[in-house]
């Protein structure tokens, strides 16, 4: 009887695998409608047969193993579970790899045509077939720089205020508020920027920078707050014991300890500002010029991708994808440096101990 049960189990698994493979293949095959209908019928039939076999197995008094059944030997389930977990983890590598491969592949045509001039030329002309990305790279860097210059003092100040100065009863609501504001979608800030702010300030690098600053401040503040709170209480009290005022305590105990983490938090905000599409696209003015004055209009990489993608010709699509790859690499570098700095500073603070 055991042999039959095992054979049935094997048959069931084989059938189930076949059905799944068939279904997946069918979903992706470029077949015609008739094939699709056959596929559906076959999958359903296979599923029905598999169900019958399953019932048959159950009827043979082999208890169906529920996952909460804690009795020992569940080798198949154990291996299956591990497979699933490994598979999910591999998915991350797969997706990232696919992104790298497909994007770079499609960026090659324009890079072959333009060579290094893609990054140094400031002419972007679709009907001449010339694509120079410099104005957009400049726009991204410039608006992010403006955003950082505005956001850093404010967000660090708020973080310090919340952690060191605010009365205890004010602390929790303030933290709640900041976290809530970090979740507001960027498109809402973009809407406000273009309808309420731009009519007064115009559409320029500065306006875009301000909107970005408003967006990244809650993010930097949240992170900075967490870093600052890891400061050892003993260090703070030591400073007070030596007669320091509160500000002196901050500069003596909190800032040196949190320096690394704060820099990391700022850079994470920078990465976010660089990748921001919507707010920039709406208020930056969409003019591909490299200008030093923040009151002039400009354009940024994600904004021009969003604006021009819809009707881009093949070479232009390749150019836009090349822009996307450039942006990707830039944000990755910033994020990597940021997390390295944060990790190092957290390790140091753990090493010092209370």
């Amino acid at each position: 009887m055991n042999q039959t049960t095992d054979r049935l189990r094997l048959a069931y698994f084989a059938l189930a695998t076949l059905v799944v493979v068939f279904a997946v293949y069918n979903a992706f095959a470029q077949g015609d409608h008739l094939g699709g209908d056959i596929g559906l019928a076959a999958s359903s039939l296979g599923a029905a047969i598999a169900w019958f076999v399953h019932r048959r197995l159950a009827a043979k008094h082999v208890p169906a193993r529920s996952l909460t059944d804690l009795r020992g030997d569940g080798h198949v389930d154990d291996k299956l579970f591990k497979l699933l977990a490994v598979g999910a983890a591999t998915l991350v590598l797969l997706i990232l790899g696919l992104i790298a491969v497909t994007m770079t592949n499609r960026a090659l045509p324009v890079l072959r045509t333009m060579g290094i001039k893609f990054f140094t030329s400031s002419t972007w002309s679709e009907h001449d077939g010339v694509f120079g990305a410099l104005p957009y790279i400049w726009g991204t860097i410039y608006t992010s720089a403006i955003a950082i210059v505005i956001a850093v003092p404010i967000s660090l100040g708020v973080a310090l205020y919340i952690t060191q100065i605010a009365p205890v009863r004010l602390k929790k609501p303030l933290v709640y508020l900041i976290d809530l504001l970090a979740v507001v979608p960027s498109v809402v800030f973009g809407l406000w920027g273009v309808l309420a702010l731009a009519p007064h300030l115009g559409r320029s690098f500065l306006t875009a920078g301000i909107i970005l600053a408003i967006m990244i401040t809650p993010i930097i503040t949240s992170l900075a707050r967490e870093v600052i709170e890891t400061t050892a209480q003993a260090d703070k009290e030591a400073a007070y014991a030596l007669g320091a005022t509160r500000w002196e305590m901050i500069t003596a105990a909190v800032l040196p300890h949190s320096k690394g983490g704060l820099v990391g938090a700022v850079m994470l905000g920078l990465g976010r500002a660089m990748g921001e599409t919507i707010a920039a696209a709406l208020v930056i003015g969409s003019s591909p010029q490299i200008a030093l004055s923040p009151f002039k209009s400009g354009d940024s990489m994600p904004a021009v991708i969003a604006n021009q993608w819809g009707e881009a010709s093949d070479l232009q699509k390749s150019a836009l994808i090349a822009l996307a790859v450039t942006l990707f690499v830039m944000t990755i570098v910033v994020n990597l440096v940021a997390s390295r700095i944060v990790q190092r500073s957290l390790a140091k603070s753990r090493g010092v101990g209370g």
């Binding site: 569940g74 983890a89 696919l98 979608p185 960027s186 498109v187 809402v188 942006l327």
Partner: protein, 296 residues
């Protein structure tokens, strides 16, 4: 006997000095930064609630169910967008959360510090930094070109954005589960898989749920990945696989570019709906965490 004059350096009486002034100045400056950030944020919220509320609450619930009128016609109607946001984000959640939790389970329970696990962890961190528009282009190239504009493409893009966030949050929660629980389960004869599913996962569940809710809130607000993948429907589309869809975030973007006040008003209304949705998700996440901590 006269008391000798205390030298000034030993006189510990507090006296006005530039140090105290400096402290006061910095305190005021720090407090002013809070005001500095509060002003624009309050202005934004006022605009959203006032302008959006005017159309959302005045025409409740028509605003959330009616079809989108032509651009120039005044009147409420964001039904397709509300449904679209819920459906695309919901499908993205169905894809990203189970996969993300499974991935985190691998990283924390099976992988540990092995080279493969460290690579996955690193790549997951890299993936959190991918700009959302790059993700949108990626899905356009591998999916939309073959399957045309449909809501599911947007879900895929959002899922790719959510996946590393869920993995991160879930892994941290799993790490917090004390080893003693696992060991007790093994002692009772459970296999690893059963231990994870029946002991570890329930223990970390509240944290995973709140982390996932925050990831969902972020995904609901994303615009760029949806721009090239879901299309621009103006009537309700109940299918993610047939035909174009739309979403609140995409509609807000479209209406932000219009000059007609009627369209702009609908944009504000949609913005309010989206903000309320993300707020609700965040608050629920916090409540879940609070309940869990109280239980402990």
């Amino acid at each position: 006997m006269t008391i000798p004059e205390l030298s000034t350096s030993l006189d510990l009486r507090a006296r006005p000095s530039w140090r105290r002034t400096k402290n006061t100045i910095m305190t005021v400056l720090l407090a002013s930064t809070v005001v500095a950030i509060a002003i624009p944020l309050v202005l934004v919220m006022i605009s959203v609630f006032a302008k959006g509320g005017k159309i959302l609450f005045a025409h409740f619930p028509a605003f959330l169910t009616a079809s989108i009128p032509p651009t120039r016609v005044a009147g409420p109607g964001m039904g397709p967008a509300v449904l679209g946001t819920l459906m695309t984000t919901g499908m993205a959640t169905l894809i990203a959360v189970p996969l993300g939790v499974l991935g985190a389970i691998y990283l924390n329970e099976y992988g540990g510090q092995s080279r493969f696990a460290r690579t996955v962890r690193f790549m997951s961190m890299v993936m959190t930094g991918v700009p959302s528009i790059v993700m949108g282009l990626f899905i356009y190239v591998v999916w939309t070109l073959h399957f045309r504009l449909q809501g599911f493409g947007g879900s895929l893009a959002l899922a790719c954005l959510m996946l590393p966030v869920v993995i991160n949050a879930a892994e941290q929660m799993l790490r917090l589960v004390p080893n003693g629980l696992r060991e007790a389960s093994y002692a009772l004869g459970a296999t690893k898989a059963r231990t994870i599913v029946t002991v570890v996962l329930p223990a970390a569940m509240s944290g995973i749920v709140s982390g996932s809710l925050l990831a969902i809130a972020r995904a609901a607000g994303e615009t760029a990945p949806l721009l090239f993948t879901i299309g621009a429907a103006r009537v309700v589309n109940t299918s993610l696989f047939h035909g174009e869809s739309t979403a609140l975030s995409a509609r807000i973007f479209e209406n932000a570019k219009e000059a007609v006040v009627a369209a702009q008003d609908r944009g504000w209304g949609a913005a309010l709906a989206l903000v309320l949705l993300t707020f609700a998700l965040t608050v629920i996440a916090r409540v879940v965490t609070a309940i869990a901590t109280r239980k402990r």
